[in-house]
Symmetry: C2
Subunit: 206 residues, 2 copies
């Protein structure tokens, strides 16, 4: 298809598709003449991916470029895959130096069995930010949030493990990490309404 | 304290504090002369809250204004509290019309026992966006994510219920909904590393 058809079939403005090309986020089409190139399904998928990462995932151009490079250059072993994925996706908040509370929490959870993750610093910062905003966030609550998060991570890993190829596993992890955050955030708020209505006796427990 | 001390003790630039005042996000100090006003601890807390909502929570000025108004005008009954909280906080993604899959999912979970929530439309949109980005998101995975999200919501509701006053419960829900998203997102990624290393046999299960 031509670039105008690529724009039309993805619902993305032609100028925006050209911008993705210039920024190197979208791979070039196959040149058929000096001024024309042919695009295919891979381009349609890539345009949809870029758009979703920006609009729903909230990534900037640099974040999208990082995700796209990881997809184009997947690591050799599945063990490295998650590290590549996590480095590709910008952390939810920048990292602070890891503090003793987070070190103890990770040890308590048995999460210190992996090599030290740069995400431990982001956790330190996210907890400090929540407390600065007046959320006390007791250690017991943190542990319970971590257990809930582990349930979510089991689904993530099961989905990635079921992928038919390393490329698709990488796609599931890199893209799923970002794109499922709004799904999970929305589910959490919907669940708050039900759990709260039960706690207040407005509806009966199932 | 003077406005310059308020800026200093919160680490926020004086011009930014004045901007918060002009935008009505920060309540005025008590005027002590035609050109001076006195600020107290409530102002320190409010400046920290605004900063955290913008920087870590990712809210815009309109979102912050909405959260702050909800805190200043709490609802009469605890049952209304969560509705006010959820209307105050911008949804993770805008709402689409609710589709049959989301309606069935909510019914399966027993989450349709509450009045229809505008968040059901946001869930429809977030799922469509994830699929457009190439994440298949089978119904079974959605159900498991919903169960994990319900665990998180139980912690949220327990913390809000334990708050000593309706104002503090509202603060816990409104501010916690936004400010704990980065905490949960970071915990999920840390958990992915452990669960994945266990699944690949790189570390032994505990």
């Amino acid at each position: 298809m031509r670039i105008s058809e690529l724009a039309e079939s993805t619902g993305v403005a032609l100028a925006t598709v050209k911008y993705y090309l210039r920024e190197g986020l979208l791979m070039p089409g196959e040149a058929t003449s000096r001024t024309r190139a042919e695009y295919d399904d891979r381009h349609v998928q890539r345009v949809r991916l870029i758009r979703a990462l920006i609009e729903s995932g909230g990534l900037g151009i640099a974040g999208v470029r990082s995700v796209v490079s990881a997809l184009e250059d997947p690591p050799g072993s599945p063990h490295e895959l998650l590290g590549v994925a996590h480095r590709a996706v910008p952390p939810p908040v920048p990292a602070d130096p890891v503090d003793a509370e987070v070190r103890d929490l990770l040890a308590h959870l048995g999460w210190d069995r992996c090599h030290p993750s740069p995400l431990a610093g982001s956790l330190t910062r996210a907890i400090a930010d929540a407390r600065a905003a007046g959320i006390p966030l007791a250690l017991e609550s943190l542990r319970r949030y971590a257990e809930g998060a582990q349930e979510l991570a089991r689904v993530d890993v099961d989905v990635a493990t079921a992928a038919p190829s390393p490329e698709e596993a990488l796609h599931a992890v890199v893209v799923g990490t970002v794109m499922l955050e709004p799904v999970i955030a929305t589910l959490r708020r919907l669940a708050q309404e039900v759990v709260s209505a039960e706690a207040l006796g407005v509806i009966s427990p199932e």
